[in-house]
């Protein structure tokens, strides 16, 4: 990968980190000097809001997660990735203003209100942690605050920095799909067995770990593949280490479907039976979603009776069907998470 540093951020601690590790970089004045490719990383000025509520779609239930945008873009090239439609660039843009990032995280602290936040929304939280060690910057900050829980969400096995840190208040999570899907649709990401092994290592190091079965993709034989994946997961990771598990089926706004069709690796994923859902996104027909979610949920529950499992961006009626209740809107929903009750 090629690293470019905006001239205005040369004093950033992240530049010192690059220099200390002997990483080569060139200095640029303008972002337009850098090719718009995934191989290009730009350390840049950024003055946007760093922490903000997850831009959830209307009507479907949202868990009130806060995203911390320290990086925009991802070195992995997943076929179904929403960033293709959401970001206007393919290159990876890293915020150099550590002070502002720390301030933004501190601003999330409210004595009587716990919050969950993470860096995995606009990038992979750990894929570039060996170059830009945000885990080392953010974790100590979070560990000082009892009301914040921070998630590093990844498809990588880049956990080395984490193993030297105190795991308090930090959850490391992995997106999981059967290896057949990883091979087809998750270009550059770690093998799923490696991800599970990394989760095991983090659990052994004292971290709470999370898993995101999202997006679950429908194909002939998906049940058996997901069941095998879950078997492998539960055989390696102790339930006590699990902070939460999310499950959700593949969904995509029309702009993403267009992007996916423009790739040569979408075969299979767009062959489902889609409807335009209430939020305008293409989703599997409700009956199909229900079947898929139930399959995954019961397969997990069969092994793990206590782990907190939730649906990401699903309709309240789906919650009622699977769990027998409606989780409610953001803050109400959030309180279902372990250790997230207000005032605690």
């Amino acid at each position: 990968m090629n690293i470019h540093v905006q001239r205005t951020v040369l004093s950033s601690p992240l530049v010192k980190e690059l220099e200390a590790n002997g990483r080569e970089f060139d200095i640029i004045d303008d972002l337009s000097e850098v090719p718009d490719e995934k191989s290009e990383i730009i350390l840049r000025n950024k003055h946007d809001l760093y922490c903000h509520p997850c831009p959830a779609t209307k009507i479907y239930r949202c868990c009130n997660y806060y995203t911390t945008d320290v990086m925009e873009g991802c070195p992995f090239d997943c076929t179904y990735c929403i960033l293709q439609a959401y970001l206007g660039h393919r290159n990876i843009q890293v915020s150099a203003d550590i002070g502002s990032i720390e301030d933004a995280i501190k601003a999330m602290i409210h004595a009587d209100e716990k919050r969950r936040l993470g860096t995995g929304e606009l990038s992979d939280s750990l894929a570039l942690d060996h170059i830009f060690p945000f885990s080392k910057i953010i974790t100590p900050l979070i560990n000082d605050q009892d009301v914040l829980q921070f998630e590093f969400k990844t498809k990588s096995v880049n956990i080395r920095n984490l193993l030297n840190l105190n795991p308090k208040n930090v959850v490391v999570s992995w997106s999981l799909n059967p290896q057949a899907m990883v091979d087809k649709y998750e270009k550059g990401a770690a093998f799923v067995s490696e991800r599970i092994a990394a989760a095991k290592t983090c659990a052994e190091a004292g971290y709470k770990v999370g898993f995101h079965f999202d997006p679950i993709i429908y194909y002939d034989g998906y049940q058996a593949d997901y069941a095998a994946l879950i078997d492998e997961l539960v055989a390696n990771v102790p339930e006590q280490a699990v902070a939460y598990i999310s499950i959700s089926t593949f969904r995509a706004p029309a702009t993403l479907v267009d992007k996916m069709r423009g790739r040569n690796d979408h075969y299979g994923i767009l062959q489902g039976d889609f409807i335009r859902a209430i939020d305008g996104k293409m989703r599997y027909f409700r009956v199909v979603r229900e079947e898929m979610l139930k399959n995954i949920y019961y397969a997990l529950r069969h092994h793990w009776s206590k782990a907190f499992i939730y649906l990401c961006m699903e309709h309240e009626t789906m919650w009622k069907e699977l769990f027998g209740f409606d989780p409610g809107e953001r803050t109400e929903f959030e309180q279902l998470f372990p250790n997230m009750r207000r005032g605690l």
Partner: protein
């Protein structure tokens, strides 16, 4: 200057009948030492506007400006590109930035790709305005699938909407389509979404039929909301509809019974 002769031939070859028989695009002809810009829409050479051009590229540029770039269709740009390529003329001077939404590099890639498409597709696109994203999808397909689309055009003569959906479906199922010849039955078989939802939807849609009243799911059965709509031209028709709705209350009950059974 042989290039100029080639250019004139290309443009002449492009000439075609459209609708009332008019020719849309200007022609560039090489007569004597000059390139001539011929009037749009006129077959009669005597109606020509004459532009002196000192080079082939100048003649092309004059032609394009005369035709107005935003009125030139995609297939027409394909031909212009081919002429430029044949004459080793840099394409960058063409006034593309005003008419394209994608970047020039992408557009030129599209034109290069399209110059090898089956003629049937280009002919279809001349008379059917198509979104760029559909044209882009065609460019990304394998030759066999482009031929498959051409064959579909020949057999079906689709509307724009049909064509758009067809191209998207061929794109989605390209890994399952190996033939270059379109066969309706076979296509349906290949692209049948084999999820259990279809049967449910069909059953529900069947159950929603009411005389005079259009009933449909408000949100693809995501919730139990149904839209009942009707059109009337008189108070008599209005009362007829009301009567139907009242008499067929059992249909609504049946619909909701099915929704319950389907856990919708």
């Amino acid at each position: 200057m042989p290039e100029q002769v080639d250019l004139a031939l290309c443009w002449r070859n492009y000439s075609r009948e459209k609708g009332s028989g008019e020719q849309r695009l200007p022609l560039v002809a090489n007569i004597g030492d000059f390139c001539y810009q011929l009037m749009i829409g006129g077959k009669n050479v005597s109606a020509a506007i004459v532009i002196r051009a000192i080079s082939v590229s100048d003649a092309m540029k004059a032609s394009i400006e005369f035709a107005q770039p935003d009125s030139i269709s995609f297939p027409e740009w394909v031909r212009i590109y081919a002429i430029a390529a044949d004459n080793r003329i840099e394409f960058s001077w063409l006034p593309l930035s005003n008419i394209i939404k994608s970047d020039t590099k992408t557009y030129i890639r599209l034109l290069r790709s399209a110059s090898a498409w089956p003629q049937k597709i280009l002919t279809y696109l001349e008379t059917h305005s198509m979104p760029w994203k559909v044209i882009n999808l065609i460019s990304l397909l394998h030759d066999t699938h482009q031929q498959y689309i051409a064959d579909y055009i020949a057999k079906i003569n689709p509307t724009v909407q049909q064509f758009k959906q067809f191209v998207e479906t061929v794109t989605d199922f390209a890994d399952k389509i190996s033939a270059a010849t379109y066969d309706e039955e076979n296509f349906k078989l290949l692209t049948d979404r084999r999820l259990p939802a279809h049967k449910d939807v069909d059953e529900l849609v069947d159950s929603l039929r009411l005389p005079l009243v259009n009933v449909r799911s408000a949100d693809n059965f995501e919730t139990t909301a149904l839209n009942f709509s009707f059109t009337v031209n008189s108070s008599d028709e209005y009362y007829k509809v009301l009567q139907t709705l009242t008499e067929r209350k059992s249909v609504a009950e049946k619909i909701y019974e099915i929704l319950r059974q389907k856990r919708l």
